[in-house]
Amino acid sequence: MESSNPTPAPAPHRELSRLAALLRYEILDTPDEAAFDDIAHLAAHICQTPSALISLVDDHRQWFKSRVGLDVSETARGVSFCTHTIEGQDVFEVRDARLDQRFSDNPLVTGEPHIRFYAGAPLTSPDGFNLGTVCVIDAKPRSLSEEQRTALARLSRQVMRLFEERLHAHRYAEQAAMQQALLNSAASAMLVTNADGYITGVNPTAERLFGYSEQLLIGQPLTQTLFPIDALVRRASILSDERGETVEPGFAVLTAPLAEGQREMREWRLLHRNGSTVPVLLNVSAIHDEHEVLRGYIVSAYDLAHQEHLQLRLQQIAAQVPGLLFQFCWRPDGNSSFPYLSEGLEDVYGLSAAEMAPSIAPIYSRVHPEDREHVLASIRHAASTLTPWQFEHRIDHPRKGVIWVEARATPMRQPDGSVLWHGLVTDVTERKAEQLELDKQQEMNRRLLEALSEAVVACDAEGNLTLFNNTARIWHNLDVHDVGPEHWAEYYRLFHADGETPLSMDEVPLMRALRGERIRNQEMTIVVNGTVRHVLANADPMFASNGQQSGAVVVLHDITERKQIEIMQRDFVSTVSHELRTPLTSITASLGLICGRVMGEVPEYLRELLEIAHQNSKRLSALIDDLLDIDKLYAGKMRFDMQAHPLQPLLEDALRNNQGYADSYSVSIEMDQCPAVAVHVDAMRLEQVLSNLLSNAAKYSPAGETVALSARLVEPQRVRVSVSDKGPGIADAFRERIFGKFAQADSSDTRQQGGTGLGLAISKQLMEHMDGEIGFDSTPGAGACFWFELPCHALGEAAT
């Protein structure tokens, strides 16, 4: 609201400072207070007016801390009379507002409360700001006497003093609260006493530490309550001696040192309410007021029980550690000390705690003279690089003689430039001895490996080659190289037994062993500079003591010579067989013609002998055929004409071809069932297997019995063909070698039963070459069932 006579605008920065001064008193919008109301009443009374106000002017209003004869608590600053008052230093008086141009149209004049008379004295702060007024108002024109004006000004100064007091009271309460909070939150027990040593305040830590509530402690003499008398007496006696005057064994024990300006900080064992003692670090400070008058003492007690507990725990832990635990401090000036040494000191260095000086010298003197330089150098190096220190060295132990210790420590640079080490020294004499023994053994092993005629190669768990013995180096003409497993075969020239096909990574024995396999007698070749070396590989995974695989090792045995002899033998068998066959063919054929009566009738007395000669010449031919087959099979030279054939016709053909032979033993062959499947085989070779099984079955069957030929699916895509007889079965002793070369039930059997003893060996080889499997089930005395299994597919379907 505008007045018709605008008031001069105050300088803006001055007004801001005035507002800041006003706010500092924190009085705006506070509740009524009697002290201020008394002054307002006094003002109204002195000035004989119906209304009096204590008014404070902020940026947009005047607010009344106290008001007499007026209802409103504030009015807008624009219509305020007080705004004029605070612009001057003296009492501002308007005798009749209606006659005053500045106020004649003021709504407070023209309307409620119809002000005619106004007189106000400014409230001036000590720093010179007018914050408001003490003013009186009347609805009638009037004027103040000089006494009244002076009284109004005095009242305004009185109000200002109240403001100041109020402000100080606030500040004091805040500080007190803060001090209390500090006391309460202190980790130490705090006890405040008066100058005579009677407790006037305690914090909660003190209550907890000593077991008393605040009420029980307040007013009690501190030393009599919490200090053991004998400790006080002891301390008093010491102090008395020091000072040359008597110190009473009471509170003076704590305060006497303070008189000399010393700080009294000392460990005490104080009394807990329950009778136990509490270890504390006690600190006593005197409290003086602003006039240097002694008001009392603050006694703080830091609980050492926790620290004692930690110390004990460290001691217990250190006792469990074999060796010496230490903390070592090396200062820039070259001095050193051991802030901590565990009880292992005697064990490792043969030093008692009493023998320990604050320096490293006693320990250093125990180091074996030959090792001293190295030890020092290694410590210096670790200190300068701040890297962990680890060093094995010898100690001249007074009791144990020369022992080996391992020292390890971690250096840490301290803010003052010193280096602090935390470390451990352990007696490793035993381990050292074991190590030396182990070294010896390893040397022995190494020599043994080098002397072996077998090649030995090893690798670690990551497949890095770690060992080639002498023989391995010679055979490969190479040493251990950084070659990954995927390149071993290529780099070290590893091939299959044929000497031509390179081994794939998965076939290299060492690689297989590295994957956990145990390899026994894997035949392979090493081909270096055109020389083929045949070897048998035996490989095993190696395991560490924790059970984890640590690598693999392979031992290679040279069988080149044996292979050459084998090849010679085979060539010999092959050559001889071929050479035998031609004359035998003519003998057999001639006997065939004679026995076939082509050359005319044979006299009766010759016929039987000629038949015997004919039969045996045929048997000899069969033996030679078998030998040649075996030879081809083992040499890998037999070729197979693999085709898909329906199974049933193959079985029927075999039955037909062998029925004649079975007839000669008065045995019949019957075919049971056969699923409609096809097998992928060389038909001629399958017929050979079937003939072998059927003729064996017929041969061993009692006369008049039947041999059963059948086939059934054992899996959707696998057929089993069985030949069962009712013969004597397979003796247990014979089971193991029945599929071996020249196997027959017993040696006399060959003659009795005929046959070469190669049939089953050939059959097994043939079946394996056709992806089949051969086997038998038999109970001695209850017949035998020989079977083979082959992959198959339903007729009409393509093989998968």
Partner: protein, 128 residues
């Protein structure tokens, strides 16, 4: 169909030569000329004018297959079937020998009682 009469047999082993001759002549009633080498066969083939030639595969000097190739220069093999005699053969070998122009392969050791029948069967199947 012409009746098979004259068979030329080439075989270096005299024993087998003799046995085959007996078997074919006595059982089959054929007329057999036995030659001990490929060269002898080449020399005598035109004079003998065989209707069927039985050739051993393995012979010293000129082997069976070479003999066959050279015989083809002198005889019209479309009119004169040739069969090889050989020890047990590997798969593929029979195909190889057929590829050289042979009609069939008779496997040693042969059955002398059946030999004439086998040759007659080849002769008849040949449709000559």
């Amino acid at each position: 169909m012409t009746e098979l009469k004259r068979i030329l047999h080439v075989e270096d082993d005299p024993s087998i030569q003799a046995v085959v001759k007996v078997a074919l002549e006595a059982i089959g009633g054929y007329q057999v000329l036995s030659c001990s080498s490929g060269q002898q066969a080449l020399d005598e083939v035109q004079a003998f004018d065989p209707q069927f030639i039985l050739l051993d595969v393995m012979m010293p000097g000129m082997g069976g297959p070479e003999t066959l190739t050279r015989l083809a220069e002198r005889v019209d093999l479309s009119q004169v079937p040739v069969a090889f005699m050989t020890a047990k053969v590997q798969p593929g070998e029979v195909e190889h020998l057929r590829g050289l122009g042979a009609r069939d392969v008779i496997v040693k050791p042969f059955d002398p009682m059946r030999l004439a029948g086998q040759i007659q069967a080849i002769w008849s199947a040949g449709g000559v």
